[in-house]
């Protein structure tokens, strides 16, 4: 460990923070709606739609992020599609986000009780209004924790960007260490930066997706009293 190198290392790595955060935000902004859409499609009455959604989801979850990035950055040019490193990374991370969060959204959708669907049907709601006003807020309440976890994982996954030369934290650290051979200090500093922005991101999420109190007491209303009968 070379403590005197730390200021220089930080100066080298910090510009990567913006890139990492930018990638994360872009992938979430684009990927979350797609994930929600995939979750809805995956339970559509139409079988072809369901199968298509399933294939998209499983492909996205089954292929390692690194392979996905290589495929987009190095593979697609062979079929005539050229993207910059940054664009490739955004495409890759967006897809990963859509595939992974679709499962989170699906879990949220599954958690909505038949009681709610009956109420919605009996009141005569149109599907979109029901989804927006009744299902989505309840689904987000369930999905909030796992979505935040995904946001953190995604932030750290942006380190994979170094493999396709995206100038984020990890690739800057790698390049710096390769020149100075001071791996321990460099990667410790990189780790510390990730830790710091993880905490900052958590804070942002807590503001964006506040938990609404009280959350658990509704259970009581589903409980049948002693007189309940078929």
């Amino acid at each position: 460990m070379n403590l005197f190198a730390i200021p220089e290392i930080l100066l080298t790595l910090l510009p990567g923070v913006g890139t990492a955060l930018g990638l994360t935000v872009a992938a979430l902004v684009l990927g979350l709606p797609l994930g929600l859409g995939l979750a809805v499609l995956a339970r559509d009455p139409s079988r072809p739609l369901r199968v298509t959604a399933w294939c998209i989801i499983e492909f996205g979850r089954g292929i390692p992020g690194l392979v996905l990035l290589y495929l987009i950055y190095f593979g697609l040019p062979q079929v005539g599609l050229y993207y910059t490193a940054i664009t490739s990374a955004v495409i890759g991370f967006t897809y990963m986000t859509a595939a992974y969060t679709s499962e989170i959204f699906a879990g949220g959708l599954n958690s909505i009780s038949g009681n709610q669907k009956e109420a919605v049907a009996s009141l005569g709601f149109a599907p979109f209004a029901a989804f927006r006003l009744i299902y989505l807020p309840q689904l987000l309440r369930v999905a909030r924790g796992p979505l935040i976890s995904w946001g953190i994982l995604l932030l750290q996954a942006t380190a994979l960007g170094y493999a396709i030369a995206v100038p984020e934290i990890m690739s800057r650290a790698y390049n710096y260490a390769a020149i100075t051979f001071d791996y321990s200090t460099t990667f410790t500093a990189a780790g510390a930066i990730y830790l710091a922005i993880t905490q900052a991101v958590l804070l942002v999420f807590r503001v964006l997706l506040p938990a609404r109190e009280p959350r658990r007491r509704e259970v009581r209303s589903r409980h049948s009293g002693p007189l309940a009968a078929g």
Binding site: A119, A121, L123, R141, R212, R217, E218, S221, S224, A229
Partner: protein, 258 residues
């Protein structure tokens, strides 16, 4: 019993419900006149709730027909499909439902629960809907609940919120599916009082209930179901005085009403 047939609001004709190949409701016919309160009573598993739920097709009838205000309700498409649900929306907007487990929206306050369908289904403007919701909550003695989430209210309050939600939409008839069965007995009185109030205001109601006292005092007509069929029934006073069938007599004896 002898009423103007033109006043028949709901006509259930030869309706059957089949679960796992077994008819839980077996070719049942039943009329509800405008302004009338009809109670469906009977032992558990008699098919009371299944019958009630066919009225707005939360339960798809296997046979028979449902007529509201003289018109047959004909859903289009396969049950459960989008087309089917769409074809029923208009009908369902005319029929209120109060469920055993309230089925309130847990993320919305009592007031919002009563407002949301007024605005987003019936197209009323928000201020009008809010005023109406407050009036309904007031009428059901729920002024203190307006700003609370359902989870913060008692069972009796939650059920009354559900009643307010139904009332605010001006349904032609309200279906009650065992409205007091999931509520602590000491709180069910407030719900029954609410129902009594609605009956006095001439709101048409079809009520599945285990509350014999309610059926006896509030209902105009009683329908006694057993084994998926209507076995007995008639004007409430007569029925409780002198049930004509052995099966109904046994039931009333068992529940201490005869």
């Amino acid at each position: 019993m002898e009423r103007d047939p033109a006043a028949t609001l709901l006509r259930i004709e030869n309706v059957s419900v089949v679960h796992d190949g077994k008819a839980v409701v077996d070719r049942v016919s039943l009329n509800v006149q405008r302004g009338q309160v009809v109670a469906i009573i009977g032992p558990s598993g008699a098919g009371k709730s299944s019958l009630l739920r066919t009225v707005n097709f939360l339960q798809q009838p296997a046979g028979g027909s449902i007529h509201l205000a003289g018109e047959e309700v004909r859903p289009q498409g396969r049950p459960g499909s989008r087309k089917y649900e769409r074809s029923l929306r208009k009908h369902r907007r005319r029929v209120g439902v109060v469920f055993q487990h309230f089925n309130l929206f847990p993320h919305l306050t009592a007031l919002e629960n009563v407002v949301v369908a007024q605005v987003h289904v019936h197209g009323r403007d928000t201020a009008e809907a809010k005023a109406r919701a407050l009036a309904e909550l007031e009428r059901l003695n729920l002024r203190d609940c307006a700003g609370k989430l359902p989870g913060q209210c008692s069972g009796g309050q939650q059920q009354r919120i559900a009643i307010a939600r139904a009332l605010a939409l001006d349904p032609e008839i309200i279906l009650f599916d065992e409205p007091t069965s999931a509520i602590d007995p000491e709180l069910s009185a407030e719900v029954l009082d609410a129902l009594k109030g609605l009956a006095a205001q001439g709101i048409t109601m079809l009520v599945v209930t285990h509350e014999m006292k309610f059926a006896q005092e509030v209902a105009d007509e009683v329908v006694f179901m057993a084994g998926g069929r209507i076995v007995d029934g008639g004007p409430s006073a007569e029925f409780f005085q002198n049930p004509s069938t052995e099966r109904a007599r046994k039931f009333l004896q068992a529940v201490g009403r005869w």
